[in-house]
């Protein structure tokens, strides 16, 4: 999240000096492929999700002894069965819609995902999840590398961030990615009216089309202007989308509403990014009260995802849509002195969609403080130890959903036979 693209410029921007194809051509291209193509919607929980409060091992006595004030009573969890180790798991009580998606067999939960020596820094952790490289987090993100590998010319709408900024994961070397928080109003205004509007746009376009190769930092900014010019008319069609269900007013719900509109209108986007913050719950985590912080987060997550799921189901587009959820790290097993939890290690990932094989993947954490040895960060008894490399989940999505080659995009073979939810 905190990646300034300075490094790109310093190294000489590779991208964006490539000319953009004519907007009309891109539009045709997008419309030709859009309606039938698959969409990936990345759902990022920012701040470090306390996965032990999302999927709860509600029969584990250590869960209660180590979380005396924030544990969720067994009677309140939404039971979803046992995992392959025989441990019963329940969802947070506010995840009612997700439970019914789970019951439909369309929600996969991959437990204990992470990597060795998990970073406790939000920013380093985010960069690692963004680049899929714990050793070097400089450069393009994993989704950016996927977009770069598409046959050119790549439409700037192939990736769409619903944030105001571009997440590091979508940062590409050769592809411009649109950041459109709100499709309504995504148009170029002018101080004048009538024919002058077009003349202004032509002026803007003419200046943006000059790409001084000796000044790549200017070229990049021009590339953003060109992307706007190439896409704003298509984006306007998304702004007029009328959903089949009601979406709440929060940012995540509105982001998913825009995504649903873009999918239904077939604007050609392959990867969307939606995000919800507030998961850095160091204090007063509020897992149990209805208006507690974490409980509210779960409610927002539940209502937004459920609305989106139902909307796409009603539109007949559920089978070609998949949500992939993750966070930069999980949180400590024991609660802290502020009725919260500090930065931890492994957590869950979720995949939701009409083509997802639902169920519980992997095994729940061993919460016994003395039960998993000592030494490394993961094994000091404070943390949920990782079992499944997060890149194995990425690999499954890249290979089996996006139809690309995960080994080349991730820089290694992370495929795992146990990660087979698609």
């Amino acid at each position: 999240m905190k990646f300034t693209r300075r490094e790109f410029v310093a190294g000489g921007v590779k991208a964006f000096t490539v000319g953009f194809a004519a907007p009309a051509f891109l539009s045709d291209l997008a419309l030709a492929t859009g309606a039938t193509s698959r969409s990936l919607v990345v759902l990022y929980l920012s701040g470090g999700n306390d996965a032990l409060s999302t999927t709860i091992p509600y029969t584990d006595p250590f869960y209660y002894s180590r979380r005396p004030t924030i544990a969720i009573p067994a009677g309140n969890v939404l039971q979803i069965g046992t995992d392959s180790s025989g441990k019963p798991i329940g969802l947070h009580p506010r995840l009612i819609g997700l439970r019914s998606i789970f019951d439909d067999g369309r929600l996969a939960i991959i437990q204990r995902t992470g990597y060795q020596n998990s970073s406790r820094s939000h920013f380093q952790g985010t960069d690692i999840w963004s680049t899929a490289n714990p050793q070097n987090t400089i450069g393009a993100g994993w989704l950016g590398r996927y977009l770069d590998a598409l046959p050119p010319p790549v439409d700037p709408l192939a990736g769409w961030s619903t944030l105001r900024d571009l997440p590091h994961a979508l940062l590409a070397d050769h592809t411009s990615v649109d950041a459109i928080p709100n499709p309504t109003g995504y148009t170029i205004s002018s101080p004048n009216s009538g024919a002058e509007i077009t003349r202004s746009r032509n002026g803007v376009a003419a200046i943006a089309s000059h790409v001084p190769s000796e000044r790549p930092h200017v070229a990049y900014v021009n590339g953003s202007v060109q992307s706007v010019l190439a896409t704003f008319e298509r984006v306007a069609t998304v702004g007029t989308y009328v959903p089949t269900v009601g979406y709440a007013a929060d940012g995540l719900s509105q982001g998913l509403r825009a995504v649903a509109g873009a999918i239904v209108r077939g604007v050609g986007t392959k990867v969307f990014w939606v995000q919800i913050g507030g998961f850095d719950t160091h204090a007063s985590q509020g897992t149990n009260p209805n208006n507690g912080a974490y409980s509210t987060l779960m409610n927002t997550l539940n209502s937004a995802v459920t609305a989106f799921y139902n909307d796409l189901r009603n539109q007949g587009l559920l089978d070609s849509t998949m949500i992939l959820q993750f966070s930069e790290f999980g949180r400590r097993i024991s609660e802290n002195g502020s009725a919260g939890t500090d930065h931890g290690a492994a957590a869950i990932m979720m995949a939701i969609g009409g083509s997802v094989r639902g169920g519980l993947y992997g095994t729940a954490a061993n919460l016994n403080p003395g039960g998993n040895g000592g030494g490394t960060l993961e094994n000091n008894g404070n943390d949920v130890t990782f079992e499944t490399d997060f890149r194995s989940v990425y690999a499954q999505v890249i290979d089996n959903w996006l139809g690309a080659n995960s080994a080349s995009i991730l820089g290694g073979n992370f495929r795992s036979p146990l990660v087979n939810f698609i």
């Binding site: 990646f3 920012s46 406790r120 900024d165 649109d178 928080p181 002018s190 202004s200 900014v221």
Partner: protein, 473 residues
């Protein structure tokens, strides 16, 4: 340079004198008294302007100060430190309510019934002071104590949030400390909390040390806390803060803050930040610059004024080839636009939604690491917001622009010259000159009439202020 700056720094004033004036001024100005007067940017405040207790009004007041302050560098530094110590209003408002949260963010003591000082006002007053002093003030600042959960840092279970970010973000940087240091730092700051004082309107929250909640055991770090430049009283190097009785426990935090402020890695990290903030974002800081600036910082007892002087006097800062190598932050872009295009009849309130769309809301950085700088501002949505703000302001100032352009009405080319002059841009490239002349002539031959100027002058200002050239400083 805006018209106001030309008055302030007339031609012939030596550069050194300009720098002196810029870095010397710090303190309360009377700029707030100009709010509401004609000849200044407007504000919009239904129900009365209450910038100390209403965050939307506070945002307008800060923009107003940035446009009109006689001490612009002080406001700029306050903004840079706001990014460095990034604290968000919303989290505080969720706990203490909107009014107290706004006070904690930017109350001006002279206007506050309890003489509370907001965090940004603290940064403004310390803009050119010592970094060590500012770090200590920040560690005891009510907004920061809420933001990084210091208020729930208890002896029984220390809270790591502040201790971690103090090292990772405010001083030595990620990768330079161990997890054990985070835990030790959390224990150092146990007992640092807020206390509510006063009654009625004069209620406020202030820093207070609670010895009963302080962990009195020794704290061991992987780096020396004593023996460095900032710990004159304890010349012997040591990485252990000794066990102390609870009533002396506040000293733990003072020792750690001094050690971190004077840590050579902090000096180098700040030097690189100054490079990014003042010199260039298109190349990394040169080694000689970092050595020079970090050296000045340490040998001047972490003085920001001395450090800034060194930055502004450096050969790198004054290198013409490094001009226009920084990306304007949205706030910088908006303030520059207002100063150069015009503000008469424009309300600061009308810049707030555009700033949100550009990705920068004052008092609401996205997270504790501040804003994502550089090219990251220039997403399609962010760039579109800049283009559209340029349009909005050019529309609002169309008569002002028309009037000013009359002296340049001789030809389409001279209108282009007018726009470059008005926006303080380096000479136009041939490509841009042609593009803008084409725009001026689109729809009819050049006459230079008032009617034509009223359309084309603001139209061209929009195109140019929304172009990549204008996004660089």
């Amino acid at each position: 340079m805006s018209e106001a700056d030309k008055d302030r720094f007339p031609n012939g004033v030596p550069y050194r004198q300009v720098v002196d004036q810029l870095v010397s001024y710090a303190g309360e100005t009377d700029v707030d008294s100009k709010v509401g007067q004609s000849g200044y940017m407007g504000i919009t405040a239904t129900g009365g302007f209450a910038p100390n207790t209403n965050i939307t009004h506070a945002r307008q007041r800060w923009l107003f100060r940035m446009v009109h302050s006689p001490s612009p560098l002080q406001e700029r530094m306050a903004l840079l430190w706001h990014h460095h110590f990034a604290t968000g209003y919303n989290k505080i408002a969720g706990i203490y309510g909107a009014s107290d949260a706004a006070r904690m963010m930017d109350a001006k003591p002279g206007d506050d019934p309890a003489r509370q000082m907001g965090q940004i006002e603290l940064l403004r007053r310390n803009a050119f002071g010592s970094f060590a002093g500012m770090l200590l003030s920040i560690a005891q600042d009510p907004a920061m104590l809420v933001w990084l959960d210091g208020i729930s840092n208890f002896k029984a279970k220390p809270q790591e949030n502040f201790g971690r970010e103090l090292m990772e973000l405010f001083t030595i940087g990620v990768g330079e400390f161990a997890e054990t240091d985070v835990y030790a730092a959390a224990r150092v700051f146990t007992g640092w909390n807020l206390v509510r004082t006063g009654s009625g309107a004069a209620t406020s929250y202030r820093f207070s040390f609670n010895p009963n909640q302080h962990d009195t055991d020794a704290k061991e770090f992987t780096f020396d806390v004593y023996g460095g430049a900032g710990s004159g009283r304890r010349p012997r190097a040591s990485n252990v803060i000794p066990a102390r009785d609870a009533n002396s426990g506040l000293q733990d935090g003072l020792d750690l803050i001094l050690a971190l402020a004077y840590h050579p890695l902090t000096a180098r990290r700040l030097a690189r930040k100054f490079w990014t903030w003042f010199v260039s974002e298109t190349e990394p800081a040169t080694e000689s610059f970092v050595n020079e600036v970090a050296g000045v910082y340490l040998s001047n007892r972490t003085s920001i004024r001395a450090t800034l002087r060194a930055v502004l006097a450096s050969s790198e800062f004054n290198d013409e080839n490094r001009a226009f190598q920084r990306y304007a932050w949205p706030v910088e872009f908006v303030v520059r636009s207002l100063r150069e295009i015009g503000y008469a009849g424009f309300s600061a309130n009308d810049a707030l939604t555009p700033l949100l769309n550009m990705g920068q809301v004052l008092y609401e950085p996205p997270d504790v690491a501040g804003w994502d700088l550089g090219l990251s501002w220039f997403t399609t949505g962010g760039m579109l917001a800049r283009l559209n703000f340029a349009s909005q302001l050019a529309t609002n100032q169309r008569v002002v622009i028309r009037d000013a352009s009359r002296a340049w009405s001789g030809s389409a080319n001279s209108l282009v010259d007018f726009c470059y002059d008005r926006l303080s841009l380096p000479p136009a490239t041939l490509d841009n000159q042609i593009a803008l002349v084409d725009y001026a002539l689109a729809g009819g031959a050049w006459t230079g009439s008032d009617a034509q100027l009223l359309i084309k002058a603001p139209g061209m200002i929009h195109i140019l202020a929304g172009s990549s050239e204008y996004q660089l400083l």
